[in-house]
Symmetry: none
Subunit: 134 residues, 4 copies
Amino acid sequence: MIEFRIDRRSGVATYLQIGQQVKDALRLGLLNVGDRLPTAKEVVAATAVNPNTVLRAYQELGREGLVESRPGAGTFVCRSLAAPAMAENMPLRSGLDAWMAEARSAGLSREDVEALVKLALDKGFGNRRGSDTQ
Amino acid sequence: MIEFRIDRRSGVATYLQIGQQVKDALRLGLLNVGDRLPTAKEVVAATAVNPNTVLRAYQELGREGLVESRPGAGTFVCRSLAAPAMAENMPLRSGLDAWMAEARSAGLSREDVEALVKLALDKGFGNRRGSDTQ
Amino acid sequence: MIEFRIDRRSGVATYLQIGQQVKDALRLGLLNVGDRLPTAKEVVAATAVNPNTVLRAYQELGREGLVESRPGAGTFVCRSLAAPAMAENMPLRSGLDAWMAEARSAGLSREDVEALVKLALDKGFGNRRGSDTQ
Amino acid sequence: MIEFRIDRRSGVATYLQIGQQVKDALRLGLLNVGDRLPTAKEVVAATAVNPNTVLRAYQELGREGLVESRPGAGTFVCRSLAAPAMAENMPLRSGLDAWMAEARSAGLSREDVEALVKLALDKGFGNRRGSDTQ
DNA sequence: GTGGTCTAGACCACA
DNA sequence: GTGGTCTAGACCACA
């Protein structure tokens, strides 16, 4: 079962953080079609956010067709975001892990790496509207 | 001269976006001690934010000792965040660029890469979120 | 036998959707006096709603005098809503079909047509909304 | 300035009704890029809904890229939905009005027409998930 | 003043 | 019990 980690200092709305974490899990194959998301109650117990905030996140995911809420039963994944290349990407993934280890042993901080990644993402994939990798 | 890109949809406060972009530029060596930040007026012309918002971002950077306001002259960088390893990191940086190119040609989207990077960052540097330091 | 199609995303209560679809079928002459509605069990098999939800819809139709429940036998239509003009409306109906075809070939989407129809309905029959009869 | 009409008996959530009415107005060319939507306060004065409900509707439109909220200034249309065919569709539109008049003088009720239109829409444009023209 | 987010609580639909 | 909607009120960001 996915567990949400809320960063209250990031300035990003809680419901957006939850929605983003679900989408990331879908892309990474950590959540798959048919999986149940934790109930609002369960999330509340684990993260101390208000149940309405969880429901709002789930409703937006529902509107995007990613999950479906069945009152009385729960909220279920109904569409995956896992790209084919993400499934068989062991070399790519381990290449990234290796790079991270290298960066760390070179003395870079997490913030340094995040800055480098933003720059490389913009070079490799074009600018997004803003520049927050968050 | 650094140019700010504001994403009004991200939900992140504008002044935080500006501050973050300055810090990223300091880490990447795109801004260095002595460099002048754009005036509030210049930022307003480029991004349509309110001058007070720019000033607030600069004040917070000032409080962290990163920039200094010289009335009549402008706001200047007075401390760098460039780690030693970031200066001589050509191989690391180009390694990241190469990885991005590989990811892209494997068919991954920007969002896919962002999800992979978050996971790898957490593995390599420990979780940032979940601290709930509120 | 009428088949119900439930849109879980519409935000309209399931029992209201079922009731509306029965009434529409009565108006269109697709259901007539004496016809049997599907049993709750049959509806459940076809649409995955709860049998109680079907029963609630049928009970409301019963309260309006449109259907009658005969224990052991099923639920039967006992009053039609087919206006006289709906019976002999071949020209009207085909006129509407022709208009739809024209709209479609003009490049209009279903949503475009729905917007036009709402406007034309309000012009031709007066506003339904705005009564706020709460 | 667009005026919202809320039907509290329809079973459709208020924020969905507001969002749908904005989209319809965009399709019909009644709202255009740059137009300002009424503030939450203005809508409250006109329709007695809670300001949060209005904001929620606007936020969803914002997420779909149709409007942009500028705190302190208001909420503005930033993308139209007017199909080219909707602009120069005088004959189509008047054809629909004529059909409505015909239907009315044949004795059809608004509900009869709505049932006919749903059927014709499904024939002309394919079934939607559910069947509520609403 | 205008918009954005969150909370607490109420009420309903559905299982 | 689970999810969906709405309200009232609080607090903050931005103009």
